[in-house]
Symmetry: C2
Subunit: 343 residues, 2 copies
Amino acid sequence: MTMQNCRWVLNRFPDGAPVPECWRRDDAAVPEPQDGEALVRAIYLSVDPYLRGRISKAANYAAGVQIGEVMHGGGVGVVEKSRSSELPEGTIVEGFGFGWQDYSLQKPDAVRVFDPSLGPLHASLSYLGMPGITAYMTMIDTIQIKQGDVAVVSAASGAVGQIAGQIARIKGASAVAVAGSDEKIAWCKELGYSDGINYKTADDLPAAVKAACPDGVDAFLDNTAGPIHDAVMLNLALGARIAVCGTMDLSNRLDEPDMGRRFLRQILTARARMQGFLIFDHMDRFDSVRREIAGWAKDGLIRHREDIMEGIESVPEAFLRLLTGKNFGKQLIRISEGPGGIG
Amino acid sequence: MTMQNCRWVLNRFPDGAPVPECWRRDDAAVPEPQDGEALVRAIYLSVDPYLRGRISKAANYAAGVQIGEVMHGGGVGVVEKSRSSELPEGTIVEGFGFGWQDYSLQKPDAVRVFDPSLGPLHASLSYLGMPGITAYMTMIDTIQIKQGDVAVVSAASGAVGQIAGQIARIKGASAVAVAGSDEKIAWCKELGYSDGINYKTADDLPAAVKAACPDGVDAFLDNTAGPIHDAVMLNLALGARIAVCGTMDLSNRLDEPDMGRRFLRQILTARARMQGFLIFDHMDRFDSVRREIAGWAKDGLIRHREDIMEGIESVPEAFLRLLTGKNFGKQLIRISEGPGGIG
């Protein structure tokens, strides 16, 4: 009997907002590792906003998923069979190339070994993984957050935003959370955000930013583009730094020009700096930053919330929840049990 | 008999494009310097694009000119009477606070002594002055131009653009000039620009930028905003650096939102960096950069073209020429004769 690998493949490109029918199940035999490869069983899979860009026909920073291909996505798992001396059986590995499936073949340079003493396995996909490291590098390297700064973070209760606000706090800055429900704002304040704006209920978003940041916004971690971006750009402090980290609000219209208000005068008069950020450029720092965040977490300086669904069958639904902001905390899917019950 | 000081004061705010009636003559007695002040006779006055922002009601980076006040503007002149030991009679000084008038009172911290051995007096307002130093600091500090870069400069035949292209060349980069006539493009190529785009006759500006920069734009000195900005933003190379130095295209609509295409996706996917620049933040570097450019000019590495009108009565016309791109080279107005015939 051949073991089955449950897989979700792209069924069609979305026309606007993705729907469940964009994917279909296409199970296959569990593949055999070739020389230099390891067979990895997924324990958790991650769904992340950047995956929306992978199923757009628009030109993008990474090659997209083609119809019939396994949908892209990161995960953490355990090596079950190995033909790579660098990835012996039982090793816990985390990587961006798991795909929406139970089993994947991995080469050593496509994954990172995860040390379970740093935190729970799923943390390797949240505060000790891509979102946490993105928050660290945007706030510290790109924005250069410093004591006394007033920061605004959009999608503040999301996987990146939760950590970004806490890093601002650790560095002596104050941070204002922008999120889509009062419950999310309340959670952000528990984490150490000094204030919050519910963008869904705010009457006048620029006025709300002005009220929260009367002396202007020094640092802006932009995860959304759209109206939140606009509201912050009208409230820049002199010398503001802006990291363009995500464009969630544009997700369903990546194939068309983004029309609206432009802010070159504001950038000029504030002498602001705006910089695009992609974690894939910074993989050389991944391990050292992961260890630093793990240290903060052990000292109780970083807390985190996950939103975990169960089973490979839930992956498309989990992704759609993420895209519509229905998740509360880092959206993950538990696929199988960790070795020795860890995870 | 009291000597007269010919002065242009703001008569009304422009409604759209400025017209000659925005200013009126309001001559007055030549003022007397008080303790710590010097009376300076203007030899050249400068008109610069940033002055358009000073007569807009929109919030701006510098307090605007009020109705009845002498119009702002920089100049170079000679101290005729002094009650400041730092500015003895006969000193040549250059500063931003001359105003559109024959005589002004200056304090030592508002002007810079200009050493005539560095170049002609009017150079202190062009390649050895604010425009040249702006070009240097945007290209070298903000953009960090480097060997092999492909740069695009808008308003390339203007006071800043002429120098920016030559600095790109000195640093081993190639530069594409965007300007408004074939004659201006030809001049830019004489200066060392490798290619040029006449934005007034190009059918498809994004396609023209793509043709001139097939591997994308690494460095963009944006002096205009508007359609040239848009065309370049659609052609960014990975890691592009953009200095927002001027917004000439928005000059006559500073009071209204700038609507159009936005480029957050392009900034993200190119990991581009965009930064607003104002020379007023960098006055501590003025003298050292001036000397470096003077050295290049003496070595024949920097050439420059001026467009000089005559007499205080010409100042509003010179400014309107500048705003409509009718000038060819740095727009200056010769007001009086330099001491000992220099200038």
